[in-house]
Symmetry: C2
Subunit: 280 residues, 2 copies
């Protein structure tokens, strides 16, 4: 039996502010909260994350999962968050043996900011077996529609990125955060807490598909990524290496398949074209 | 006399790739290059940055400047970049005394990825004196027009952020990178190399105004930030603390002044409204 506790009291999700528009008129506006949260794992300080703080427990869990500080959810004894002191205190049964080493190796990645990724995750991801699945053009459009209804923070405050775990026709989990990678980590944490399997799942993000994003989703075990934004070269080459499907620039009726077209069924175009282009 | 050398040969700026669109048609597309670059300062490994690599020398210089590993440009003896081994080797005269300490303190920020910022920059920025200046509404529109013409990488490949140092009516320096903070760092480096003063300068970014972004621009000494995107809470509170002008959501004829309205002259609205709203 785990302890998952949180003291939300002092957290700021949205902050009201007054701005002046180009006509010189005053406007009330919400700004996305950005709260520092320092993670302590078994009494060792790991990192300080800036986060909206909407789902801090899965965020901390997912961060430690994606950075491979925690191997399996059953290792977690307790996770307590106190926004009064902006601290997350995590205790686990079996500690990852190489924490010190992880904390020494540091890469600043192009999460669009400069993300930190520890250790050498890539080696460990190669050879991952992904569940068999496909997604159809009509499912892509259906999901895009659903997703456009849930990004409430973005619509009220902007300045956040959204990520989602979807099945073929519904959104299983969604998170928005000031840090896009926080949103991915939060979903990784939710998949542990709610015991969501990666079978028949699609990962959606409003942000770009960078190598770090592709790597994190690969770790979760999902083979299809869908993004409103573009793809970077390392994101693409990593997807090619790991055989992950990248569908990007997905807006309105448009999208581009950058890799793994064999998982995409273009069911809305005439059969010939479909056979012609979607067979591996 | 400094040595600034670069071996560009092995760097990838844009990579051609074939994608499939929603109609099942093949398309040739460029993808933004993402090259790892490991920075060594006086034989000590500092960090590995993922970068487009278009302006690596100012990037490395600006990174070390903004992270306060190097206090002044005159301290730099040599900076050599070799893309064959993805390494930047920097030698300086006076080494910042607290490198080890800087390397130990680590904060993952919400650059939109998870950025790394060392040491306690904030203390050192407080009390910064900014040059006196204002920007007018017509200048904002003029700059936005100019800026929309220079983002060539974004238009060809997407997945990059652009930043610029502008005077009232022209772009002094512009950089695009897969990491938004790389673009800011690159401009900080260019200001050293080309001896660009921060007087009468405006900083523009396509990305969000997060605390890290505001902090970096404050370090450079520029008091006016202009962004196409939104503002996060810590970006705003830091700007309020440091008395920095934030103009965000600047698209077409629209923009919102989040802080420091006394530096903005709304010259295109009737005089009363202008006096009414723009005086401090």
């Amino acid at each position: 039996m785990k302890t998952l506790e949180i003291n939300q009291k002092y957290r700021c999700l949205l902050k009201e502010t007054t701005v002046i528009d180009e006509r010189g008129e005053l406007r009330q506006l919400s700004v996305a909260g950005e709260n520092p949260l320092t993670i302590y794992l078994n009494k060792r300080e790991i990192v300080t994350i800036m986060t909206l703080g909407s789902q801090a427990i899965p965020l901390v869990l997912g961060y430690l999962r994606n950075q491979q500080f925690i191997r399996q959810y059953s290792d977690v004894i307790s996770l307590q968050i106190d926004w009064e002191v902006n601290a997350a205190v995590v205790n686990t049964r079996n500690e990852a043996d190489n924490i010190a080493e992880k904390l020494n190796s540091r890469t600043v990645t192009s999460g669009c900011g400069q993300g930190t990724i520890y250790g050498n995750l890539l080696e460990q991801i190669e050879g991952v077996q992904f569940p068999e699945m496909t997604i159809s053009q009509s499912e892509i459009y259906q999901l895009s529609q659903l997703l456009s209804r849930v990004n409430t923070t973005y619509r009220s405050a902007g300045a956040v990125h959204g990520c989602a775990i979807c099945s073929r026709n519904e959104i299983i989990a969604f998170n928005e955060d000031v840090g896009r990678h926080n949103a991915v980590d939060t979903l990784a944490g939710l998949m542990w807490i709610d015991d969501i399997s990666c079978d028949e799942k699609i990962f959606y993000t409003t942000g770009r598909l960078t190598s770090e994003m592709v790597m994190k989703v690969a770790q979760i075990g999902i083979p299809i990524l869908l993004s409103r934004s573009g793809v970077t070269e390392m994101g693409l080459s990593l997807a090619q290496k790991l055989n992950i499907t990248l569908i990007a620039r997905a807006k309105g009726r448009h999208f581009l398949i950058f890799n793994g077209k064999e998982r995409v069924v273009l069911d809305l175009i005439d059969q010939d074209a479909s056979i012609n282009h979607t067979s591996a």
